[in-house]
Assembly symmetry: C2
Homo-oligomer: 148 residues x 2
């Protein structure tokens, strides 16, 4: 391979593996994106909490639908925390403790996956049992990576 071809290939690979931030036109969009995804998630999670805590009547279909949105949204925000997107409520630790941050993301994704299963069980006890661990996975990440 010539040096030029080698350089061209390296450049092409670099372009394909651009950090997630490169998916956003500007850092502000990445911040707005992650905040938006987390806010949508929080609203649907809150509705499950209202059922789990007896503030609104249990509705199996609504519980399943809300849990699906929570689990879908749980996968999204992380692409919005790329290099150069410091700001919002994010602590600097997001960009300093990558392995721990990724572990917390993964935990949330796992717990929200279990939440979908629990919500689809069709009884409030299953929902109640998984609501707490899911909320705990939100809190564990907030405690380490979000300013209050």
């Amino acid at each position: 391979m010539t040096r030029l071809a080698s350089f061209a290939l390296a450049a092409a690979c670099a372009a394909m593996s651009l950090p997630a931030a490169a998916q956003f036109a500007k850092p502000e969009d990445a911040i707005k994106y992650r905040q938006s995804a987390l806010f949508v998630m929080s609203q649907h999670f809150g509705r499950l909490g209202a059922m789990a805590n007896g503030r609104v009547p249990y509705d199996a279909a609504a519980a399943a639908a809300n849990a699906e949105v929570v689990a879908d949204m749980a996968k999204l925000p992380w692409a919005g925390f790329g290099a150069g997107t410091e700001g919002g409520k994010a602590k600097p630790e997001v960009w300093k403790e990558d392995a721990k941050f990724k572990e917390r993301q993964q935990k949330l994704i796992e717990e929200t996956g279990k939440l979908v299963v629990a919500a689809k069980a069709g009884n409030i006890d299953a929902l109640k049992a998984q609501f707490g661990p899911t909320g705990a996975s939100c809190k564990a990440c907030h405690d380490s990576f979000r300013n209050q």
Copy 2:
């Protein structure tokens, strides 16, 4: 049925059929919710546009994943336009032309459903063919119901 029992039943039914706005703690949350869902959708739709217009290389897996998010998000914002949630960029027509607004929502949901099918076809021509009609369904709603 006694008058009291009848009243209690009516109250219970009213509670179960509260307008969507009642899912939000305050009107500001409903506005933030719909704006958040639409922003997340726009970001993923924009990535499909970048592929369809040749600004980034076509990536079948990424196209399918982005289209899935677009279609999921397309179902969400409408619950955030309940009674008493006027504001943001929404025109007053949202609350005056309900049938037309719902028709535009339905059209977006249909077109984004087709977008998922097109994105999963695994070739850029299918994506290109459905990108335009989907974007047109965004624009049709914005033209009537969103202030610029």
